[in-house]
């Protein structure tokens, strides 16, 4: 899976960290345009594309793309 988080929309609420069933997300050192710490997909390989993070990101900042093998 390829997970991208748009830093111009992420507000740093960290819902994605809490809801991911595979604990894919962690906090990075990057900042979003709000000024808060951005999450990043540190365990991207564990992602099962349940897309809960896409649905629950209040700012539509997350995009999960399934890579065809």
């Amino acid at each position: 899976m390829k997970i991208s988080i748009d830093n111009s929309f992420c507000k740093g609420c960290e819902i994605c960290l809490a809801v991911c069933p595979k604990n894919v997300y962690g906090i990075s050192k990057k900042r979003n345009s709000y000024g808060s710490a951005m999450p990043e997909a540190i365990m991207e390989s564990e992602c099962i594309a349940c897309r809960l993070c896409e649905r629950l990101c209040p700012d539509a900042a997350i995009n999960v793309e399934e890579e065809r093998k």
Binding site: D6, S8, F9, K11, G12, C13, E14, I15, L17, A18, V19, S33, Y34, S36, L52, E54, R55, L56, C57, P58, D59, A60, A61, I62, N63
Partner: protein, 287 residues
């Protein structure tokens, strides 16, 4: 940005004015996913009132009417009656719908007019800074209930059901998939549908109702303290009742009834309009 939302949102208007972690963004995704899944984008218009949740459709690149406080249903009914074959989706909140808008809710439910309402309930007046709403739980300390609220809160979904709504569901923002499915079902349902969404307001409700401003904490609390209603089950006390509460296909819808009556009237002897008198070389009033 998310590929689905990208196709529907007004890029120039973003980022949204919602606080970080606000449940409104989750309702946005569910509504857009529902509209997209049903393929009804060109035939759908959104109407909203005033409040944080009324801002939800203002970011959609669709026909949207952002009206006055409590009156979204009145505008929506006028729009629906002008174009009965199209869809109208109403976004409202606990204050907008259950306080100032109560009368319009009563009549829209009673008419069973084919409109879908998404009632985003965050138990507070968020936009104006955290005052008590009709849905604020008892003893919650808000800006207008400094000693704790002493009102029993209104249950939006049950109220709509008792007033005659024929599709009523309640979910929380912690149930995004079920929420989307209910919105789809509500839009497809021919009659008045109301989907209540218990949504987190981390800034105001976080302080007054939940005791924490962490959105993930509140969403987890909503998930833990809700149960999904199934007919005939033993319902637990003190928990949020989620699920489809009623789905009645038997009651007739307003526009259907109106058109049936008009067709009946047109084929029978036409009614002579009272009090009108025509003279001289004119055609008779009776058609």
């Amino acid at each position: 940005m998310n590929r689905l939302m990208e196709r529907y949102l007004r890029r120039d208007a973003l980022p949204t004015l919602f606080c970080p972690g606000c449940g409104n963004g989750i309702v946005q995704y569910a509504a857009i996913a529902a509209i997209d899944n049903l393929g009804i984008r060109p035939d759908t218009a959104c109407v909203s009132g005033i409040g944080c949740s009324s801002w939800i459709p203002c970011y959609f690149n669709m026909d949207v009417m952002h009206t006055t406080h409590g009156r979204a249903l009145a505008f929506a009914q006028g729009l629906k009656l002008a174009q009965p074959d199209k869809k109208v989706l109403v976004f409202t909140g606990d204050g907008d719908c259950l306080a100032i808008g109560g009368n319009h809710l009563l009549h829209a439910c009673k008419r069973n007019i084919d409109i879908t309402v998404i009632l985003v309930n965050n138990h507070i007046y968020g936009m104006t800074g955290g005052q008590k709403s009709p849905a604020t739980p008892e003893s919650a300390v808000t800006k207008t209930s400094p000693w704790g609220a002493y009102d029993e809160p209104i249950q939006g979904a049950e109220t709509a059901m008792s007033l005659g709504a024929t599709y009523v569901a309640r979910w929380t923002t912690a149930h995004p998939v079920q929420l989307q499915k209910s919105i789809e079902a509500g839009i497809k349902h021919k009659g008045f549908s109301l989907i209540e969404v218990i949504s987190q307001c981390p800034t105001q409700s976080g302080k007054s109702v939940y005791g924490s401003k962490d959105p993930a904490f509140i969403m987890n609390y909503l998930k833990e303290s809700s149960y999904v209603y199934k007919e005939g089950m033993d319902e637990p006390q003190g928990k949020i009742k989620c699920g489809v509460l009623i789905h009645d296909n038997d009651r007739s819808e307003y526009i259907e009834r109106m058109e049936a009556r008009m067709n009946q009237f047109r084929s029978a002897k036409p009614v002579k309009v009272k009090n009108s008198k025509e003279i001289e070389n004119t055609r008779s009033v009776e058609r």
